[in-house]
Symmetry: C2
Amino acid sequence: MIMEPRLYTTSADYVYQELRHQIITKQLKPGQRLPEVNIAVQMGVSRTPVREALRRLASEGLVLIIPNSGARLASPTRREMEDTYAVREQLECISVAIAATRISERNLRRLEDAILEEEKAFEEKNLELYLEINENFHRIIAEASGNRVLADFVENILARTNAYVVFYDPFYDIEDNPSIAQHRAIAQALKEREREKAVDLMREHLKHSFYDLNKPS
Amino acid sequence: MIMEPRLYTTSADYVYQELRHQIITKQLKPGQRLPEVNIAVQMGVSRTPVREALRRLASEGLVLIIPNSGARLASPTRREMEDTYAVREQLECISVAIAATRISERNLRRLEDAILEEEKAFEEKNLELYLEINENFHRIIAEASGNRVLADFVENILARTNAYVVFYDPFYDIEDNPSIAQHRAIAQALKEREREKAVDLMREHLKHSFYDLNKPS
DNA sequence: GAATTTATGATAGCATGCATGTATTCATGT
DNA sequence: ACATGAATACATGCATGCTATCATAAATTC
């Protein structure tokens, strides 16, 4: 499989993206220790950018840093996941509510594009790409709210939840994944400026996503 | 005035706290450039911990980092403040709602203690201390929700808003600052497990705080 | 033999020097 | 006078060596 070429401006950024990649592709396991030197050597950079990437991941809850002791990959409990989704629901519902009143034509088109790409990635069973575009869908809505702070927070919580998806290794039934249909419904509601409807659909969508995570895999 | 001794474990932590201190005490001005070397020399440490502190402040929206160019202190517009408070309202209302159902006796006592300290700091006109304890009040409620992720997010948004207080230089009328009375009312509602009431009071409290920021100073 | 102390190894935290990229200034030409 | 471009100063990004701290294991004492 040909990977999308990773774009990055700095080494720290590269390490950050690479670590996320390794998390998504399960090369790293929950709770695993992440010594700076190991990562530095493996990625051919020095410890400095590694430290920076680890702290960024820590701010997203994906990595746990114990002062003077080291970093390890998070191993979220079911409880932590519930908590995360509770926050995500709050943020995304307000996000979609505001977006419903002020989303631009351009962003509506971006949403539709995202849905198309999403279908493609899903059919190709490219989980990493699918997650990335899924993230994009939600990101576009957050941006469309016009509230920059809200968008930042949504960004953070997306980083958390999409990694959790992998930690909990859900079974995606190719015959029955309602997620994309739900996205389409949300996009439609936004297009029609149906605020309440969009919020309800989003809430339903997130509840379902969370439920999916907890299905036996 | 005798300052509370700052406790810190690492140099990076020291720089972080010291920078926040300088922001709160208006030694730094919105939009001001923050070159790593200057800060490093001034604080008697190397650039490394300074970089770390700056990035942490950036994650709290207090500092803007432009890659390869440098960091500067944020200069939030009124719009950004509105946005921040909108998010804060969401997070704190859900926070207090959950806390109302499960706050412990111990945390109720901590709330009361915070209110007492707060009154003292206000009477002494110690703005920095007052802000710190004010922050504590909200932090305790967030922790009492039992949702760690939520508490993290509240922590982040508290860091933002309390610096904004200084950026916008509000006039605190010593005769008429309803904030502490509002805190007392919220604590009372929590004690009585009056969920809806606590949420309404919190919303009112935040609306008022935001309004205060926008009074002519 | 258990507990406490001591030694040893390993890792994060910090300082510093070098490389790279950016902003400013000044010269040059139109 | 203004625009353009080169040169210079400056700040960040990264690498590397050193130091402080923590965890583990060995040793000594009771």
